[in-house]
């Protein structure tokens, strides 16, 4: 495939444009999509770029179709993806459950908007529950929560490679702020950076004749017996658990000697890092922990943090969706949980700093 990005370059663009470029650089062949704000411009840029680079696009009738046509693209052996948000993410969960069951490496970018329902088209972190565990199964998917445009680019490329390497549906979880704001980043050709590009291959329509090195594919997802299903699901779970250490990513700052650890993900982690640095400078013993993969969750790393401190402040633009994952990870350990939950609202470092200082004063 012709390289979309010939040489490394510094650019200044919106997050939606970054995802389109990231998908190009990741050698995505085809996008299927349905309009929804704040994701629209992923399609707008893709439809402008795709024909110039021999890639394709199909505008579908809804996100069920966007998801199932993406599955079709994957079955044909193409690096296929879609992008959506909010109510579209809900519809997408049906095809994702099929991809989990049949180990189909579909890739999707989610730009979270306010919920529930149509709510706002602007911003939130309220699609964590849905994106990490939205199906009628065991949530065997990979979810990367990005914080910067550079990460949107890096993790879009990584999402395609992780999906095709491990064969689990993979999400890039952004939000409306990341989608719409402009920010500098460096775009590059992943091969030049030594990124291993996982090969894609067809599930159906392979080359060759039956009986001569090719057998007809029979791909099923319906089973007649409980035991049959159990065996298949347990195999997937074992695979998922085995690859978890290779996939899990997180950032941990100053947690070893901290009285309090601020936990945040995605764009909110930028405010959290800024708050942690400022508080440190002012003498507060504060650490910072950020899961990059929300699925699989960095359980081991967070439990290790809990050995040095047992106080956590979870900060998120949702009402406890990240906190639920944190509590689950820390189950059985002694931990004290504080929270800043602001569904659908942006969170500043000042807000976090003020909260921490006030709580500290109360203690004195």
């Amino acid at each position: 495939m012709e390289r979309a990005i010939k040489e490394e370059k510094r650019v200044f663009m919106t997050g939606n444009e970054v995802v389109a470029w990231g998908a190009l650089a990741a050698e995505a062949d085809i996008m299927y999509g349905y309009p929804i704000t704040p994701q629209n411009e992923v399609m707008h840029y893709w439809t402008r770029l795709a024909p110039k680079h021999g890639r394709k696009f199909l505008q579908t009738e809804d996100e069920l179709s966007a998801g199932f046509t993406t599955i079709g693209g994957v079955l044909a052996g193409r690096r296929a993806f879609t992008a959506t948000a909010g109510p579209g993410n809900i519809l997408l969960q049906e095809p994702v459950s099929m991809a989990e069951m049949m180990r189909l490496p579909m890739v999707m970018a989610i730009m979270q908007r306010g919920g529930p329902s149509t709510a706002t088209v602007i911003y939130s972190q309220q699609e964590v529950n849905l994106t990490t565990s939205g199906g009628n199964g065991e949530a065997l998917r990979i979810v990367y929560s990005t914080a910067t445009h550079q990460e949107l680019y890096d993790y879009t490329i990584k999402a395609f490679n992780a999906a095709w390497k491990y064969r689990f549906p993979t999400f890039i979880l952004g939000d409306g702020y990341q989608a719409k704001m402009r920010e500098p980043l460096v775009m590059y050709n992943p091969q030049d950076k030594g990124v291993e590009m996982a090969a894609s291959e067809p599930f159906v329509g392979k080359e060759g004749k039956f009986g001569e090195g090719r057998e007809p594919a029979h791909l099923r997802n319906a089973f007649s017996m409980e035991e049959e299903l159990y065996e298949v699901v347990m195999e997937h779970i074992q695979d998922y658990n085995k690859i978890t250490p290779q996939i899990v990513e997180y950032v941990s700052l100053g947690c070893e000697e901290a009285d309090l650890v601020i936990v945040a993900h995605g764009i909110v982690s930028r405010a959290a890092v800024a708050a942690q640095e400022k508080l440190r400078r002012e003498g507060y013993r504060v650490g910072f922990f950020r899961p990059i993969t929300l699925r699989p969750f960095p359980v081991r790393a967070l439990r290790k943090v809990c050995k040095s401190t047992s106080k956590f402040l979870v900060v998120e633009s949702a009402f406890g969706q990240l906190a639920r994952l944190v509590k689950e990870a820390l189950f059985g350990l002694e931990a004290e949980m504080d929270e800043i939950f602001m569904p659908g609202l942006g969170i500043t470092s000042e807000k976090i700093i003020g909260h921490v200082k006030k709580k500290s004063e109360l203690k004195v």
């Binding site: 179709s65 599955i71 693209g73 079955l75 044909a76 052996g77 039956f210 594919a217």
Partner: protein, 251 residues
């Protein structure tokens, strides 16, 4: 009867025969014709067969053709996605009337309207077979089903969906649209062959609805099954071609 009508199609998978449909079920007859057409057009290795959830799911290992079971109503987009990504493949989306006209109707309408180069083959048995015989969009007026125990009341639940008529009205000039019946296998074969040829030629969207039997849920013996298929259903569902090359039309 010619040899091709008495022997198994080459594209059938012998290990999975006899098949899993109930005795007297129309699905097996439709799939027999489909297999014959795949053989005649010599496309076994380029075809991709997608089956819906419904009794069509039983066909996931019916053929020696690349096959994929999808979700209820979602076979059309899966096959669309495959063929959009790799247009050299021949996509067949196989489904029931519930899958095509109820839960998946938006996909059927839009694939037809976009003129996707796929073949949608839909089995009309006037009910939801797999789930135990509830009303389908195609259930006849007055017909008793599990969810219309006193007979389908058209004032409350509408009249039988006329699928090919609808698809013909919204599809492009290069589409192929027909309704066949398992009570006339040679005509059904002609329709399915033309539909497949239309797709193989990359001309346009192809759609065939087939009037088919479901004696299990109809609770009919052989004679009443035939009567329901060939008399009652035909009162509402006109067999023939609705869109084809003008030179080929057959009523």
């Amino acid at each position: 009867m010619s040899a091709s009508e008495t022997t198994m199609p080459k594209s059938w998978r012998l290990e999975t025969k006899p098949h899993k449909f109930c005795p007297g079920c129309g699905h097996g007859l439709v799939l027999k014709v489909l297999g014959q057409v795949v053989d005649e057009l010599d496309i076994q290795e380029r075809a991709v067969f997608g089956c819906d959830i419904g009794c069509s799911l039983l066909a996931w290992d019916f053929f020696n053709i690349d096959s994929v079971q999808t979700h209820h109503g979602r076979t059309t987009p899966v096959i669309t996605g495959i063929v959009r990504a790799n247009p050299s493949l021949i996509g067949i989306a196989y489904m029931g009337d519930g899958g095509g006209y109820a839960i998946g109707s938006q996909h059927l309408v839009n694939a037809a309207n976009r003129n996707d180069k796929i073949f949608v083959l839909l089995v009309n048995n006037t009910n939801y077979g797999m789930t135990g015989g509830q009303m389908a969009p195609t259930t006849l007026p007055g017909q008793i089903t599990e969810t219309t125990p006193y007979g389908r009341d058209v004032d409350e639940t509408g009249s039988p969906t006329l699928g090919p008529e609808m698809v013909a009205a919204i599809s492009s000039e290069t589409a192929y649209v027909a309704r066949g019946t398992v009570s006339n296998m040679s005509k059904l074969k002609k329709f399915i062959k033309r539909a497949m040829e239309n797709v193989v030629a990359g001309r346009g969207f192809s759609f065939v609805e087939v009037l088919a039997t479901c004696p299990t849920n109809w609770r009919t013996n052989a004679r009443d099954t035939w009567k329901f298929l060939d008399e009652d259903m035909k009162k509402y569902f006109k067999v023939g071609e609705f869109k084809t090359l003008p030179t080929e039309r057959e009523e």
